[in-house]
């Protein structure tokens, strides 16, 4: 108690620091910039903070903090636009929002989904700040209590969400998660540096696949292609029904859910090393499990938006704990944040243990600036949501080329490789087929996200545990089975049991029809082949590097086993069985105006031309031909839209200081920027 009372003066002086017109002005400026960056998929806080960095040098600390925090705080709020309106996961924090947010937009309820999401974000942010104000004082020992076995257990708990999201055929969901896990092991192993399904001749693969690209490929590309084939607007209704007031009411009705998910967000955010990418899935799983009528999940259940959105803003607050108290960044943007703090003023603020001793007022100022930024950002977003929701009534054929442009840009903005957009294309294809044959895409993505933590924590925990066991059996058992581990174990078991019981009624992918055997069987064989090759590849790693091969072998083996059981089931089951779900047989995809391959070929065309001519020239050709031929726009309109698109792309790239990936042409001819 004394700790808290002695912190009160610091809290008061933190408010003195914040409540200055200039500080608030900088905060609003940061928020506005954060919104502008966050609206675009794939450009998270990292891109935004990089924009601000040049100005941080020697800046008054509190002003610099206000600017940066304003920017970071609103990214998980504004990326909701892309998730809900376009089905594009704006950042790793809003992947689960897509599941129900986008169906709502398709039902013409975009404004309602957005305002429910924003209210939840705001609430989550505030709950997070309140919680942190007290918790940060006692956080150090709590954070230190989370060792490797505890982190492994949380990862497994995250993985257990697959049980809820596995879809109608549990084995398929399990195999999808296994495939995700296996794709996540591609590249140089963290521990021993051995290559898995990669070669030094293709340096791109040695780094492994990036989450941004996998997220966009698995969720965005299948949705864009599907909508494009149907040649309609995103919203089925031309008039947007339930508006933003309904959304706020929805949130208020579910305020306790919102509260619980906010707490989940802060707590998981606090633990260093896990990052936030799993938080929204845990929140989504929790939401599903605590909802009585589960039939609407995946088809536009507003609770499916409220849960994850409450957690992802709260998570940003939680992430401040390892960042400020230990100097260990909880995420990429927090790493830049730490770097930027060192540039502020004369560098007097030093993140680390001293933040509580000598800089408690600054610490509190950071916590509450974050909360305040959430308020400002949410109000701006709600104000804008009605207008932006109108995007869903535009004929999608006019939006699609620009979405292809944006996600390609998002895909390569981290590495500026041509391979980035190629990988996007390949993952997109996997996503399309997972969706078509009703293999759970959320399960796949959870597997991918958790692949690295599962491998890392299990190897490390195993190594340290065996070290302890050598010292004594008791020491080993104490290490592995701490009270936290046992608690998490119980929660996980309950969640899996409940999940399996409920999974059949939850269609995270919406309805689909079943039909003939051939196509689903073929897809199963392709996946099984990949898994087989990957397992064989891992088995060739020398035994001295057991850490690099054990996880791919075990996970790959389990996934392969699932595939084999499925194969037997498929051979025995009659045609039309639920196993043979295929969206091309009935429903939206089957009745679409355009076929899958001609539509996908447009994206393939953009990728191919980028490889030959570089991105900008390829984009000119792509936009011109797409708008004129596919969309049937008039010549002036085609030209005007193309010019707008190209100008926008060049503006983004020059502000963010990025190059476009060059093609073959650029290796022969020296061209000026942006063509080079």
């Amino acid at each position: 108690m004394d700790t808290f009372i002695s912190a009160l003066p610091a809290l008061a002086s933190a408010w003195d620091l914040i409540l200055q017109p200039l500080v608030l002005g900088y905060l609003v400026l940061g928020v506005v910039m954060g919104l502008a960056v966050g609206v675009f998929p794939g450009l998270g806080g990292i891109a935004g903070l990089s924009l601000l960095l040049p100005f941080m040098f020697g800046m008054d600390p509190i002003l610099g903090l206000a600017l940066m925090i304003g920017m970071v705080a609103v990214v998980p709020t504004s990326d909701t636009f892309a998730s809900v309106l376009m089905g594009i996961p704006g950042s790793s924090a809003s992947q689960a929002t897509v599941l129900d947010g986008f169906p709502m937009a398709k039902n013409g309820e975009a404004a309602r989904a957005l305002s429910a999401a924003f209210s939840s974000s705001l609430f989550g942010g505030l709950v997070g700040a309140l919680f942190l104000t007290l918790f940060i004082l006692v956080a150090r020992p709590v954070v230190l209590a989370f060792g490797l076995p505890e982190m492994l257990m949380i990862t497994i708990f995250g993985l257990s969400m697959v049980a809820v999201l596995a879809g109608r055929v549990a084995l398929k969901g399990l195999a999808a998660a296994g495939l995700g896990l296996m794709l996540g092991t591609i590249g140089e192993a963290d521990a021993g540096g051995n290559l898995r399904m990669a070669t030094y001749d293709i340096p791109y693969l040695t780094d492994g696949l990036k989450l941004v690209i996998v997220g966009l490929g698995i969720f965005a590309i299948p949705e864009i292609v599907s909508l494009l084939r149907q040649d309609r607007s995103i919203s089925k209704t031309t008039t947007l029904g339930a508006g933003w007031v309904t959304g706020i009411r929805d949130w208020f009705k579910n305020i306790f859910l919102s509260m619980r998910c906010s707490i989940i967000g802060v707590v998981v955010g606090v633990i260093p090393g896990l990052g936030g990418s799993v938080v929204d899935w845990i929140a989504y799983g929790h939401t599903v499990q605590t909802t009585r009528d589960k039939s609407r999940f995946g088809k536009g259940e507003v609770r499916g938006v409220i849960g994850p959105e409450s957690s992802n803003n709260a998570k940003e607050g939680g992430g401040l704990v390892p960042t400020l108290l230990f100097g260990i960044p909880g995420s990429g943007s927090m790493a830049i944040f730490i770097g930027a703090i060192a540039l502020l003023g004369s560098g007097q603020i030093e993140v680390g243990p001293n933040m509580l001793k000598s800089n408690l007022d600054i610490t509190y100022a950071i916590v509450w600036l974050l909360a305040l930024a959430n308020v400002v950002g949410t109000l701006l977003c709600i104000a804008a949501s009605g207008g932006i929701a109108k995007l869903t009534t535009i004929r999608f054929t006019y939006l699609a080329p620009f979405l292809f442009m944006l996600i390609s840009f998002a895909a390569f903005q981290s590495g500026q490789n041509f391979e980035d957009i190629l990988a996007l294309c390949v993952i997109g294809l996997i996503g399309i087929f997972l969706r078509r044959f009703d293999w759970s895409r959320p399960a796949f993505l959870i597997g991918f996200v958790l692949s690295n933590p599962v491998e890392k924590f299990s190897n490390q925990a195993f190594q340290i545990a065996s070290f302890r066991f050598r010292k004594g059996f008791d020491q080993g058992m104490d290490y592995l089975f701490s009270p936290i581990v046992i608690t998490l174990l119980i929660i996980t078991v309950i969640s899996v049991v409940l999940g399996i019981r409920q999974a059949k009624s939850i269609m995270s992918e919406g309805e689909s029809q079943s039909g003939a055997k051939r196509a689903p069987l073929l897809f199963l064989l392709v996946i099984a082949t990949y898994l087989g090759v990957a397992v064989f590849d891992a088995s060739r790693i020398p035994d001295i590097n057991m850490t690099d091969k054990i996880v791919p072998l075990v996970i790959g083996g389990i996934a392969l086993l699932c595939c084999l059981i499925l194969l037997v089931q498929m051979m025995l089951a009659p045609e039309g069985h639920v196993l043979f779900a295929d969206r091309e047989l009935a429903g939206e995809d089957a009745n679409a105006t355009y076929g899958l391959w001609p539509t996908l070929a447009w994206f393939g065309f953009l990728v191919l031309m980028t490889g030959l001519l570089g991105f900008i020239l390829a984009l000119v050709l792509f936009l011109l031909s797409f708008l004129r031929v596919r969309a049937g726009a008039s010549v002036p309109r085609t030209l005007a839209l193309t010019v707008c698109g190209i100008a926008f792309m060049c503006f983004m790239a020059s502000t963010l200081n990025r190059d476009f990936p060059p093609g073959l042409l650029q290796s022969y001819v020296d061209l000026p920027w942006p063509l080079r």
Binding site: I46, L49, S50, L53, P54, F57, G58, L144, F146, G147, L148, E188, A189, D190, A191, G192, G193, Y200, P203, Y204, T206, D207, P272, G273, F326, G327, I328, P329, G332, A335, I336, G339, A340, A342, L343, S346, G347, E350, G352, P353, N354, S414, G415, Q416, N417, E455, K456, N459, Q460, Q463, I464, F467, R470, K471, P542, I544, N545, T547, N657, D659
Partner: protein, 364 residues
């Protein structure tokens, strides 16, 4: 190098002459007004090199003639070899391209990583900075430490490591030479994670670079939870390892090795340790220009970095980024690079063999 004789006047004169000779293209003009200098960093925005480059960018902008804009560009991939390979293919255009390498770029080069297609000796170094490192033990085992590792030889240690081919090679080899039994837990993401593992009691030995040690681990020492063991030391002007100026009271690895039975400060192991220590610490971060850059442009950069080092407030503002370690410019930077990438063949063979035997690491 020739440029060391050039004063600022010579640069100016040359610039004028060049401008007169090539009035339109003005390739060798050492005035950067209106231009944009790009510092290419072969790592992501979130790493230590990013911090380093972001610190120097605004200072360089002020110090270069014509106050050009200086931006930092990131080209991460393949353990920094992607960016370095790209830089290898660049040639001089208008002197606006700098490349910032790090120990993680030096090590693959020294270890003949198959992805390395760059050659340090082709580039021109304009600036180099270094750091130091400190190893420390947990309190229980630290009680047995008496300035030698003699009583630590039968203790099993556990250490959170980023990987045997990273900078962690230096501490791992040092402990190995001391006859200590240190088991690395590989795959952590940064030294901060290593310290956290130590604080949680999972790891029992750790090392941090100087600034991180002062920021995070020194507090542990004060609380009695950690015992400092040794620093890696620093290099004096003639290339000898001496006590680290940041930790003058702490023995260096060299001293501890000399005092410990069975550890020798000569021979292949020692030469190998020293070579990788230099590449990883005193000459950790180096700023390069493409190999065919004209002398006047090189001189302009060297003068600019000299001017930065001469700023009244330099010690104060650089404390967080550089610590007490000197910033080398021009010929000194060149010398630092040469020291960093010159490893005797026997020493290299020793390390490659040791990595293979101890950790099963083989670079194809």
């Amino acid at each position: 190098m020739k440029f060391k004789d050039f004063g600022k006047k010579t640069v100016a004169a040359l610039a004028v002459a060049a401008a007169a000779a090539l009035p339109v293209t003005a390739q060798a003009e050492a005035d950067f007004a209106g231009k944009t200098i790009e510092i290419i960093i072969p790592f992501s925005e979130t790493g230590g090199s990013a911090k380093w480059a972001n610190f120097f960018a605004p200072l360089l902008s002020e110090a270069m003639p014509g106050e050009p804009t200086v931006v930092v560009k990131f080209m991460p991939g393949a353990g920094s070899t992607k960016g370095a390979n790209w830089f290898q293919e660049q040639s001089h255009e208008d002197g606006t391209l700098l490349f910032g390498s790090s120990g993680s770029t030096q090590f693959p080069y020294l270890l003949d990583d198959p992805r390395v297609k760059y050659e340090y000796k082709d580039w021109i170094q304009v600036m180099a900075t270094g750091t130091g490192g400190v190893a420390y033990l947990n309190a229980e085992d630290g009680a047995k430490y008496d300035g030698t590792a003699n009583q630590l030889k039968d203790v099993d240690f556990i250490y959170g490591s980023q990987g045997a081919t990273r900078l962690d090679l230096v501490p791992l080899l040092a402990w190995e030479m001391l006859g200590m039994n240190v088991e690395p837990v590989f795959g952590i993401k940064g030294r901060g994670d290593g310290r956290l593992m130590f604080e949680r009691g999972e790891a029992t030995i750790d090392y941090q670079t100087s600034s991180s040690y002062l920021k995070g681990s020194a507090a542990l020492v004060e609380e009695g939870k950690a015992v400092p063991m040794m620093s890696w030391g620093a290099l004096d002007d003639s290339g000898n390892i001496v006590r680290d100026p940041t930790f003058p009271d702490m023995p260096t690895f060299k001293e501890v090795c000399e005092a410990t039975d069975g550890c020798e400060t000569s021979g292949d192991a020692w030469e190998a340790w020293k070579a990788f220590f230099i590449a990883g610490f005193p000459a950790q971060k180096i700023m390069h220009l493409p190999g065919d850059t004209p002398d006047d442009v090189v001189a302009a950069y060297v003068a600019a970095f000299d001017a930065i080092a001469a700023r009244d407030d330099f010690a104060e503002i650089s404390g967080k980024t550089l610590g007490k370690y000197p910033m080398h410019t021009g010929e000194m930077a060149q010398g630092a690079m040469t020291a960093a990438v010159s490893v005797p063949d026997e020493a290299k063979a020793f390390v490659v063999n040791w990595l293979e035997e101890a950790y099963g690491v083989s670079l194809k």
